[in-house]
């Protein structure tokens, strides 16, 4: 079979219209899932290769995805996208393909990563199972490596590609009545320190055992990076679209120019961040991701602009979603934040966060995999899990201290200390 790039080039030599975009994606995932200190049946390898073809016709766009990468397959995709476009009404938000001039702004970067052998992957797991068993703990989680390629071609001459990889090792350690979870995100595990990683998990899992009963209420909390990430991303997802803000449909609509956060909070995007940027351009159309501030100096700095809406407003497009999200941290480790809290709680992560009230940015969710009491600046045993109903604006205003960033797949987020975090009920464990 011909290489996909040659087939795509052949098709673009004689485009069916003046708007043909072909996005190619390839990923090779080796994902090993485990539970009860043993690899389970989600021990899988998958090679996925797809093209998505977009054809514009007189202000209309049709698209078609296929993993038939033969010449006939890609030609068929073009035909189907073209047929669909012709049947649609004109789109008032139609945008032509990205030009070479626009694509020149892409800040390319080449992340370094090597191949991780099966021996090393299963070795990491065997070490974890052995150490957790030795500590009398049960385990569950996954280890995966995900190298991938994204390429975008169009009939205006744009040709961009990016190779990247993320690897994750997520490990939950369980006692009979509690759990603690941590993860290591890396390009290829060359930076993985198994001894330190396992010692931290084992120590915290032991500390989580036999959670004491504690009533819900407002507490000073230190939120671990995963907890901050989960809540922040849900908030941004619902509220940052510039068009929705202008149309009065997000929480920012009723807070124009208002102070919405403590001055220390700085949330931004940096597309050439080698560790937490998945691609320097949009895999949908090759539009460059840009660096920009989202929240700075206590205010909304700028929301997210799609290409269409940016053109309408005369601003630079950020993309419907940015390259990544970075919450600027400090050099303080989480332990330092804990040491500054006299009486409060440490929350490792959240679970099942959902919107409760859009216009006031209120979300609900549960704590999970590690809730510890803080007394006199020290972790002092675990407590039951809680449900929260929390305004993110209140959280932004009540942020008392910010710690050191932890890099995750798409984000870099610090732990934070928050006053008056609103827990409304507890659960049975």
């Amino acid at each position: 079979m011909k290489r996909p790039d040659l087939i795509i080039e052949k098709i673009l030599k004689k485009p069916v219209t003046d708007h043909v975009v072909v996005c190619y994606g390839k990923s090779e995932t080796h994902h090993i899932r485990f539970s009860n200190n043993s690899v389970n049946r989600e021990n899988l390898f998958k090679l996925e290769e797809e093209v998505k073809v977009e054809v514009g016709y007189d202000g209309r766009i049709g698209s078609y995805r296929t993993n038939d990468l033969s010449e006939d397959g890609v030609t068929h995709a073009v035909k189907k996208a073209y047929e669909a476009a012709k049947l649609l009404p004109k789109d008032p938000e139609y945008m032509p393909p990205v030009t070479n001039e626009e694509a020149q702004a892409i800040k390319h970067f080449k992340p370094a990563f090597g191949e991780l052998s099966d021996g090393k992957k299963y070795g990491i797991l065997r070490d974890a199972f052995r150490e957790l068993k030795k500590a009398g703990l049960n385990s569950a989680g996954s280890l995966s490596t995900n190298p991938y390629t994204v390429e975008v071609y169009n009939n205006k001459g744009v040709r961009v590609s990016h190779n990247n990889c993320y690897s994750t090792f997520a490990l939950t350690a369980m006692t009979g009545n509690s759990s603690f979870k941590d993860f290591h995100v890396s390009k290829d595990f060359s930076d993985y320190d198994g001894e330190a990683f396992l010692a931290n998990i084992i120590g915290n899992a032991r500390l989580s055992a036999d959670p004491a009963s504690l009533e819900a209420g407002k507490y000073t909390v230190v939120l671990g990076p995963p907890a901050v990430e989960e809540l922040l991303m849900m908030f941004l997802w619902h509220n940052m679209d510039a068009k929705a803000i202008d149309e009065g449909r997000t929480a920012f609509s009723k807070r124009p120019g208002e102070r919405i956060a403590d001055e220390a909070i700085h949330i931004y995007s940096k597309p050439d961040h080698e560790k937490v940027s998945l691609s320097p351009f949009s895999p949908e159309d090759a539009m460059p991701y840009i660096g920009f501030d989202m929240i700075r100096n206590g205010k909304l700095a700028r929301p997210w602009h799609s290409r269409f809406y940016a053109a309408k407003k005369g601003v630079q497009a950020t993309g419907k979603f940015p390259a990544n999200v970075i919450f600027k941290g400090t050099d303080k480790p989480a332990g330092k934040l804990v040491s500054n809290v006299e009486n409060g709680l440490y929350v490792n992560s959240f679970w099942y966060i959902r919107l409760v009230d859009l216009m006031d940015g209120i979300f609900t969710g549960m704590t999970r995999d590690g809730v510890f009491r803080i007394k006199d600046g020290k972790l002092a045993g675990s407590v039951n899990n809680f449900r929260f109903n929390q305004s993110v604006f209140d959280l932004f205003h009540n942020t008392a201290e910010i710690g050191k960033e932890k890099e995750m797949i798409y984000t870099s987020i610090p732990p934070i200390t928050v006053r008056d975090f609103n827990f409304v009920s507890k659960t049975e464990f």
């Binding site: 899932r33 539970s35 390898f45 078609y64 789109d91 099966d118 997520a170 409760v356 549960m366 659960t427």
Partner: protein, 478 residues
């Protein structure tokens, strides 16, 4: 099918304990509209083969989008190599429940293939609904989402089963957003998603419902806030589909109970020692799992382990009586066969236990929804799905809704807003004191139920008649 038989024979020759191969051909047409424009329309056609091998006590799974013999052999070799690696960490013996050898075909009964209908037909219907919605007073946004799916599968295993299935799915929805009185509220119309053909979409009355949701979105903006405290709730079938999904469907997946999902979707409070003795709900609460339900989203004839789909009681007269069980875990239940509810989303996904079609049986005594409301002195009637969240053991749950009405002296007296209720799941079902009869039974369901790692999205139908719950903690959301 010959390519699958051949690769199964190849793996049998390698002395695997068990192997199966599944070929998927997945077609999907997805349309999203915003006001009177098409926001996005995507069609996809994705196919491939997934091969699963069991070596001693280790599983391996590998997939490919290519179906030529060389690609399949390479994929089979990879699955076997992974299984051998996994076997080295195996903590226990894998025992697979028996299943008769099937040579079978199953297909959804349809009159009109959605993929034979021009896309402009459905787009026209959705944009017309958008126009109708936008005529509503104070309406600022109209939207719709429509999915047509067709999944063709072929399956073969080392036990000799050879199965072909062909399933069509339709999911339509529209929504209206109004801004008035300092509030922004969205109201939805979700016709039940069904395994059906285009004729089902043609039969939906979008116009009447577009007018209704536009008016109710605005009315919601002017509603008064609920009070915080315990209340009686009457929940409509659409709303109940979500509560049962989260608090009954997921807790009764046996793989979750036994810790297989601990790291992602979580575990379950409904542990095995509770089987046949735990009071999960009041005596009138009966939950029936039925993957043979005509038009049900999980009705596929045979699941992705080659097990024939079945019907069973999950909860009978309020007592926990069953689980969703795969072939690997059936022996833990002393079951001779799994119950046919193990599915994979795509060819590259490993089949895992999924929630079956699951419904709350209608009340046995004659009772209309009007009579149920008339019999309620003080309460809240909730329609549709809103905010929803539950802990990873499926105990502490909080739900909102799409629309809320106050009930006073047996009558709906006006809309409420900012309603969320919070309960421990089994206490919630124990507080159920009335269920309307089969006349008001309605279906609902989902095509985006997330589970597994890597995450897979599955589909299943739920259903209920409106039901009443006493002494539920209601909170004003803000």
């Amino acid at each position: 099918m010959d390519n699958l038989r051949e690769i199964i024979s190849y793996l049998a020759g390698k002395k695997v304990r068990f192997a199966d191969a599944r070929e998927h051909l997945f077609r999907e047409r997805e349309i999203t509209t915003e006001d009177t424009r098409v926001e996005q329309i995507t069609e996809q056609n994705v196919s491939g083969v997934g091969i699963k091998a069991l070596w001693e006590n280790g599983w391996g799974y590998a997939s490919t989008s290519r179906t030529d013999p060389a690609a399949l052999r390479k994929t089979a070799d990879k699955a076997l190599a992974l299984a051998k690696s996994a076997d080295k960490s195996a903590a226990g013996a894998v025992e697979l429940a028996g299943e008769p050898r099937h040579t079978a075909k199953f297909s959804t009964t349809i009159k009109e293939d959605p993929f034979d209908v021009k896309v402009s037909d459905a787009v026209g219907v959705l944009l017309q609904a958008g126009e109708t919605i936008l005529k509503g007073k104070d309406v600022i946004k109209a939207g719709s989402y429509l999915v047509f799916r067709n999944m063709k599968k072929k399956y073969a295993n080392t036990e000799g089963s050879v199965i072909e299935t062909d399933v069509f799915t339709v999911l339509p929805q529209i929504e209206a957003t109004a801004r008035a009185g300092g509030e922004v509220k969205t109201r939805h119309y979700w016709p039940a998603p069904m395994n059906a053909g285009y004729e089902y979409f043609r039969g939906i009355d979008f116009k009447t419902n577009a007018e209704r949701i536009a008016a109710q979105a605005r009315e919601h903006c002017f509603a008064r806030s609920c009070e915080t405290g315990t209340a009686t709730l009457i929940l409509d079938p659409e709303h109940l589909s979500l509560t049962m999904h989260e608090s009954v469907g997921h807790p009764t997946e046996l793989d979750r109970v036994l810790g297989y999902e601990e790291s992602c979707a979580g575990r379950s409070f409904a542990t095995m020692e509770k089987l046949n003795n735990f009071k999960y709900g009041s005596e009138i609460v009966n939950f029936i799992a039925d993957n043979t339900l005509e038009g049900g989203l999980a009705s596929c004839g045979y699941d992705d382990e080659g097990v024939e789909c079945r019907k069973w009681h999950m909860i009978k007269n309020g007592i926990l009586t069953g689980y969703g069980v795969n072939r690997e875990l059936a022996h833990r239940m002393k079951m001779e066969r799994a119950n046919g509810t193990t599915r994979a989303a795509k060819y590259c996904d490993v089949p895992i236990t999924r929630i079956p079609n699951l419904y709350l049986a209608p009340g046995a005594k004659p009772l209309s929804v009007e009579e149920l409301i008339a019999d309620t002195d003080d309460g809240i009637y909730i329609e549709g799905m809103g905010s929803f969240s539950i802990d990873q053991m499926r105990l502490n749950m909080q739900f909102g809704g799409d629309a809320f009405w106050e009930i006073k002296k047996g009558k709906l007296t006006g809309m409420l807003k900012n309603v969320v209720y919070n309960a421990i799941s089994y206490e919630f079902w124990r507080s159920c004191d009335a269920i309307a009869d089969e006349r008001s039974f309605k279906r609902a369901g989902f095509i985006t139920c997330g589970k597994g790692d890597p995450m897979q999205l599955a589909q299943m139908t739920h259903g209920a008649s409106p039901a009443r719950f006493r002494k539920i903690m209601v909170r004003r959301a803000k």
